[in-house]
Symmetry: D2
Subunit: 364 residues, 4 copies
């Protein structure tokens, strides 16, 4: 299966008929911003069992213990990795630690789910993929939005051909966000990029980046990325930590329809505009003719489901069956590759950077 | 007065105390998409008198005559320019004709209002400015949005310091639009650029462009521009003719507040978010501290007024008093300069293009 | 044809194939708030010709003459009614003058379109209907909303059975409105009532009213009406001149779907919620079971058309062909009858008032 | 303190300086729809300790035990009431059981918080109040909305005089709701009524009700109430279980401003319209003059806080200090009184029913 042909057939559903006899024993590494969500979902999923937490910060460790009294907490990750009872680890630590922690876990024979981004560089990501492949272990980046019901509704529409040919995409992700020393591109762009790669099913060919660092040099809080995909789709991504209004909106314009996906509009997150423009070749030497088609707007019903629950279910399914998870490592690699290229464009003052294409670079 | 210090003092109001004894005699050139709006407003303004229309297309000329029976229509522009009774012309023809028509009109001693963009190239725009200056005539580009009440409400907020330091701007202008052979950048970007130059009062230092031409090569229907202004503000402009939903939204994020200007939200076009993020230098070797401030959202009352009526009033005022109109020729020059640079960036596959700065280029 | 079986077959379209050889000669009576709209539309419709205006107020008469120079203005209505060249009159004067003016016009052999409400009392309305019938003249109340595209979209949905059984309706019509000595019920409720009678196609059986008069006794500025229709549908109408936000919203809840019609939401005026509740009889001695069905929201495309233009076209069509106009006199009678009953309820401090049913009262 | 002078001085804040040495020991009675929310909040509040659950349904009891392993569950309420360690009970059972359970608990010397409505009849409510008074126990109805931050924002605006004189109120509360044999008035109207009594601080003088029972006779699923308050404010309440779109909106129109409170609009729940209408007495024999004032719309920041947490804090505060809780028993009585009157109006086919006024009826 090629990188860009995602498995469409298997549907994730909250419970699976023939569960494995024993739940997978899971250790969560990191109990900061995202860790508590992982912990809650591991506890609630029948195919998983929370076996340990690894957290060096004492206050966080105490908060965990108060909440989940029976589960041991370790300050040293090696204690967890050395435990043969642990089947898999979930890594929810800062991006710069993803590669060393995932590497150590894979070497210790554990399956690994790493929070996005998979690593800080494409080389690191490639190294992890090779390692997981050689050991026959699951390595999965935590691109949670791939499990979001509205994202999958949009994907269904695209796959069914409802949109026609995709012309362009805009994506805005803004809020008053947590400041992180990795910068806003590394923090927020993985969401937009993973969704776009998942929806468009083609690699990014070129990226340019423009950004502004208000508070500290080289740590941008706002960035604009423009991307060209392999088949010509052009996209513009706007991300920022400085915007007083929360925005999470993606617009995908095709020849037949346009879809607007607003992640903040709880009950009406997806809107399909059944309108378009048709271009007719001139009959003879005349002017080109454009005609407009106008139609209904449909707000399809989207199931309510917690994406993280489905992500963990998919992780367990991949471990138990050997299936490729929806949020697979190649996609995680490509996200990192584009981010690395965007940061290179930024260093070159907005110069566009070509991407060699994920498979080629991996091969190299 | 420098280019970027716009006259703030004089306020445009629908009627002026001491009107000149005789209305200015106006000829409208072109009765296509925009011409009928000019005609209606010239008729309604007391300081103007519609003296002639120039239109070669017979069907359009007939439509005009049916609507305004008493006013003569000429197919040849020279007949209008040779008429010593005509004080000024309003040019509402395709962009490539702006330079020759405005040039001829200025040489014939007429004041000129040209629809946006002022010309196709900065050199042409510069030529018109020099010509108007040497003859002591008013040359005014029709940047109608500078007379829009919500735009001026936003400008007032910025000038009063309500937003604090401006960090970044996003602007989206999309619809299912009329296809024009000049491409979407030349068609739509003058609106965003004129508004940004008017609001930010600083020149553009760098621009990159990315676009897609779906129907015909080299005629883009969607484009993304990223701009850096002289004082560091970064901006992203998204324009398209292919979007089934009409969008006209600008977001301006400052250190103190954020403003959202949605030109399609009739009664609630301006929203001010009184929220922000404060960055505190670490006391000693510690981490940087960010604090968040949250407050009200205010939707200020914005007067209802037709921008084109105010624009024509300003044109008459400039002719009668010698005052610089709000939509002045230097601003029109800068808009053309940025568009030319954006098109150059497009030819170079997104390479950023530096701008020399309007005054320098004019001086050269 | 019964009162509540409106002609569904004939569709109003902007132009009709076989127009009559001569346009109908129309006199407009009253050039206040609504008259100018009538004048503009009469001028623009090919099947009508504006022959005269009747207006006593000199300033209004002068404003008309400036706008439409060639058409005579009369202060005395008899001069218009005595003119045998006049085919029909459009009455746009205050409600209390509707009966005497329409009566005089019918007696003079003119077809009559009267602005809503048809008259101040059911007896007056009944008198006008009898008079028009006896003379073979068209008498039509100006219930413009019956020609509104979104209202007809809702009607189509109901007629197609999309909503299932109608359970209840709410309608709110509020703004900062023009104060009128007839009170808010007489001013605004005809809109809601005409729409409801048109949509539900059944008479009102009972009405209660509650209101408040803030500025002057017995002239309410806010009122709440609760209605029970003949087949059990219950409705609540909220009307006010005192609300700072303009509201024009109707919600119609049926067993299969709900429709929300918001007249202020230009492009999205109709929303269909494909959700419902199903009630299942208990199998045996058990509890009743309710199940919920959730589905899409659809915002159907609604044509843009000016309702008043279609209303005047329908008036001409009724005169020329003898067809019953969509806004027919019986419906106008029923509106007046409900308003009279609501005002009676108000005098009785909210006591519900039964309606005998339109046909019976007409017969009496 | 009169019934309608609520204590404005004391502010509820999440933590109180001098907490009592021992948490109050609480038993929750009923673990159906609302019980789990009570349980979660009791566990989280430091001034409360969850001592027991009373629940006859085995499945529910088991669900509780799985969630809160250490706390005993009793099927028989007497076991709880006989336990001298229990300080207070929270009653979350169907409305018809409120009186007997609260009565038994008060007789057993327990403080009581009863879910809304306080009882099924005013007589029952009055009986409970007398009993609590005679024993010196706290009896508090669970009108949770009185602790909702947006409701209190609206109340602050009214108390500060921002709205001027209140003219009228509309309230809509609709959804696809749980069917209950007590009918929609008993189920939903306590929310609207408690909020209105809290905001307007005056008793209801008259109520009429109109309703429809679609599925079962005498169990309405939709109802419209019109109320007149003692000082003339008129209100219209629309409630339904049959509406496919969730609506929770209240509009309060005053002489100076209008407030719209939309409980479903998370970040923008309160909107203040600074617009109004002024009525000027005619100078001499002339017509009345109305002038309109238009201004900004403000969406004030509203704190995020869980109303139920604040309600339980207030309950504990009342027990510990003897202070009257914000959701006090007299207000609960009035709510029941209005509901009883509305149901009487319904039986009389919409006849308005006068209310004697809470204090008088209590005295009787």
């Amino acid at each position: 299966m090629s990188v860009h042909q995602h498995p469409a057939g298997h549907r994730l559903v909250p419970s699976i008929a023939s569960d494995p006899p024993r739940p997978l024993r899971i250790a969560v590494i990191g109990y900061g911003y995202w860790g508590p969500n992982l912990v809650r979902n591991v506890i609630e999923r029948p195919e998983l069992e929370l076996a340990a937490l690894c957290e060096r910060d004492e206050a966080r460790a105490a908060a965990f213990t108060q909440r989940v009294p029976g589960v041991p907490v370790f300050a040293d990750v090696d204690e967890v990795l050395d435990d043969p009872q642990i089947d898999a680890v979930l890594v929810a630590t800062p991006p710069r630690t993803h590669h060393p922690l995932a590497q150590a876990a894979l070497r210790a024979g554990k399956h690994v789910l790493v929070e996005k981004p998979l690593a800080k560089t494409a080389a690191e990501a490639s190294d992890l993929i090779a390692l997981a492949d050689s050991r026959g272990l699951v390595l999965m980046p935590g691109h949670t939005f791939l499990y979001s019901p509205p994202v999958n509704k949009v994907r269904d529409l695209i796959r069914q051909g409802s949109l026609g040919d995709i012309y362009f995409v805009t994506s805005s992700r803004m809020n008053l966000g947590k400041y992180q020393s990795d910068g806003v591109i590394c923090d927020l762009a993985p969401h937009d990029l993973s969704i776009l790669l998942y929806l468009l099913e083609q690699p990014v060919a070129q990226v340019s980046a423009s950004a502004r660092s208000v508070f500290q040099e080289h740590i941008p809080e706002v960035a604009f990325l423009t991307l060209t995909f392999a088949d010509g789709v052009t996209a513009c991504i706007q991300i920022s930590w400085l915007a007083p209004r929360k925005v999470r909106e993606m617009v995908i314009v095709g020849s037949q329809r346009m879809v607007q996906y607003d992640d903040t509009a709880s009950d009406e997150s997806v809107r399909v505009f059944d309108r378009g423009m048709e271009f007719k070749e001139p009959a003879n030497f005349g002017e080109h003719q454009l005609s407009y088609r106008s139609g209904d707007i449909v707000i399809p019903r989207v199931d309510a489901a917690e994406p993280l629950a489905l992500e963990l279910q998919d992780f367990a399914h991949a471990i138990n069956t050997g299936a490729t998870p929806r949020s697979h490592a190649q996609l995680g690699y490509e996200v990192v590759d584009v981010i690395e290229a965007a940061e290179e464009s930024l260093r070159r003052h907005g110069q566009p950077v070509m991407l060699a294409g994920a498979p080629a670079r991996v091969a190299a």
